[in-house]
């Protein structure tokens, strides 16, 4: 992990750091190595690189801007305070998204803000089990949800994503918004590869159903 900074980089003679311009060109592993050496500029570079993807993921998970700001901040504090626990055989971004997702999911569990799938439990294996585990949204939560989404997100696809169960939401956002492979998502979310494929398939199916009315 402690890859030496690339030779030939322009360096600040006072703090022996690559200039900000060069820092932006370094791979994540090198920036992490510099951050572990106590370089604040490297910490800030990691934030700069990932603040938008992490905030977007968390925002779409919790659907509240202020809360998403707080959870994004918590995510970066956790990550940067425990950089020594990062294992370089994984992509830094996968580790970061894993923590961001855990922070968001933990919050949803604590606040019981989970929305539920129209298809019932993702673990259901028979049609009866699917029907039995399907729970409808209450009028109150649906109207509050719609009001919030209309104000903050707006589009039909965003509203449809908001109705997915959180596990589906994480998978589909990592797959199609962040462009992660199925294997990376499985590593990031600590899920078996088959489960990731199932979640993404079901999420697409639900989104397709949810968007049908917009095409009619």
């Amino acid at each position: 992990m402690r890859a030496a900074p690339r030779a030939g980089l322009a360096r600040d003679p006072l703090d022996q750091m690559p200039h900000a311009l060069d820092l932006a060109n370094l791979p994540d592993a090198d920036v992490v190595a510099l951050a572990l050496e106590g370089r604040e500029a490297a910490h800030r570079e990691l934030i700069r690189r990932y603040e938008r993807p992490v905030f977007s993921l968390v925002f779409r998970m919790v659907r509240d801007r202020e809360l998403a700001e707080d959870l994004t901040q918590d995510t970066f504090i956790k990550v940067l305070s425990h950089l020594d626990r990062y294992r370089s055989e994984f992509k830094f971004s996968s580790w970061l998204f894993k923590i961001a997702n855990n922070v968001a999911i933990d919050h949803l569990r604590r606040r019981q803000l989970d929305t539920v799938s129209m298809d019932g439990s993702p673990h259901a294996t028979t049609p009866d089990a699917v029907m039995a585990s399907a729970i409808e949204l209450s009028d109150r939560s649906e109207s509050a949800l719609e009001e919030m989404e209309a104000k903050e997100l707006g589009s039909a696809i965003e509203q449809a994503i908001a109705r997915l169960r959180p596990e589906y939401r994480s998978c589909i956002l990592l797959r199609h918004v962040e462009g992660r492979s199925y294997e990376e998502i499985a590593t990031t979310l600590d899920l078996p590869l088959g489960t990731v494929k199932t979640y993404i398939h079901r999420a697409r199916h639900e989104l397709r159903r949810a968007l049908e009315h917009t095409r009619e």
């Binding site: 003679p13 006072l14 703090d15 022996q16 572990l36 050496e37 106590g38 370089r39 604040e40 910490h43 800030r44 934030i47 700069r48 603040e51 938008r52 993807p53 905030f55 977007s56 925002f59 998403a68 700001e69 994004t72 901040q73 970066f76 504090i77 940067l80 305070s81 696809i157 965003e158 994503i161 589909i172 199609h176 918004v177 462009g179 494929k197 993404i200 398939h201 697409r204 199916h205 989104l207 397709r208 968007l211 095409r215």
Partner: protein, 195 residues
């Protein structure tokens, strides 16, 4: 034409743009089957909409808020390395000159050591002479310093207390020095965090 319509996971393979031996027949089927082509188009509409979603920007002060709560420590070995590096010249020619001078000094010292080693008696004489001179210089300076700092009576009291007194004095001095260093380090860390 293959009359079996595509399964949902086969539609997913095509949506994900998978390439492989098994995918070609699926593409061939879609090219001929209106129903499967319509299902694939529906699936692609969703994926295209997802992939067109933008990233949202958080508050511009996020980095400052995060860094205010993240302790940034410079490990001792990095601080030591930086201290050494700071003394090195920045320009290439200056570094080359420093390297030449350093190598010359090291070479001279090595030759001197070899010469001394080959003349054992002379080396022992020179070493003992040098040690005596250094000892008398250090002792004289220390005595003068002690008299000027502490006064005659305090020095007399220390001499009277023997080895125990001197040991306690040295330990007290070391304790004060270490405490001062740690205190300064803590102050420096606190101010760099605030900064």
């Amino acid at each position: 034409m293959n009359h079996r319509h595509l399964l949902p996971n086969e539609i997913d393979l095509l949506v994900d743009g998978e390439a492989g031996f098994g995918v070609a027949p699926l593409r061939a089927h879609v090219a001929e089957c209106d129903e499967c082509r319509a299902r694939l188009d529906d699936a692609r509409i969703v994926v295209d909409a997802l992939e067109a979603l933008p990233h949202f920007a958080p508050d511009s002060r996020l980095a400052d808020r995060v860094m205010a709560q993240v302790p940034v420590f410079v490990p001792a070995h990095v601080a030591a390395r930086d201290s050494v590096t700071r003394w090195l010249p920045q320009s290439g020619p200056a570094r080359a000159a420093a390297a030449v001078i350093g190598t010359s000094i090291a070479g001279l010292l090595t030759v001197a050591m070899i010469w001394l080693a080959s003349r054992g008696d002379a080396a022992i004489f020179a070493t003992s002479l040098f040690a005596d001179r250094v000892q008398s210089l250090v002792m004289g300076t220390a005595r003068d310093l002690a008299f000027s700092l502490l006064g005659d009576s305090a020095v007399a009291a220390i001499q009277a207390s023997g080895m125990l007194g001197v040991t306690l004095l040295v330990l007290g001095f070391l304790g004060t020095a270490v405490g001062t260093i740690l205190g300064l380090r803590r102050l420096a860390t606190a101010s760099s965090r605030r900064g």
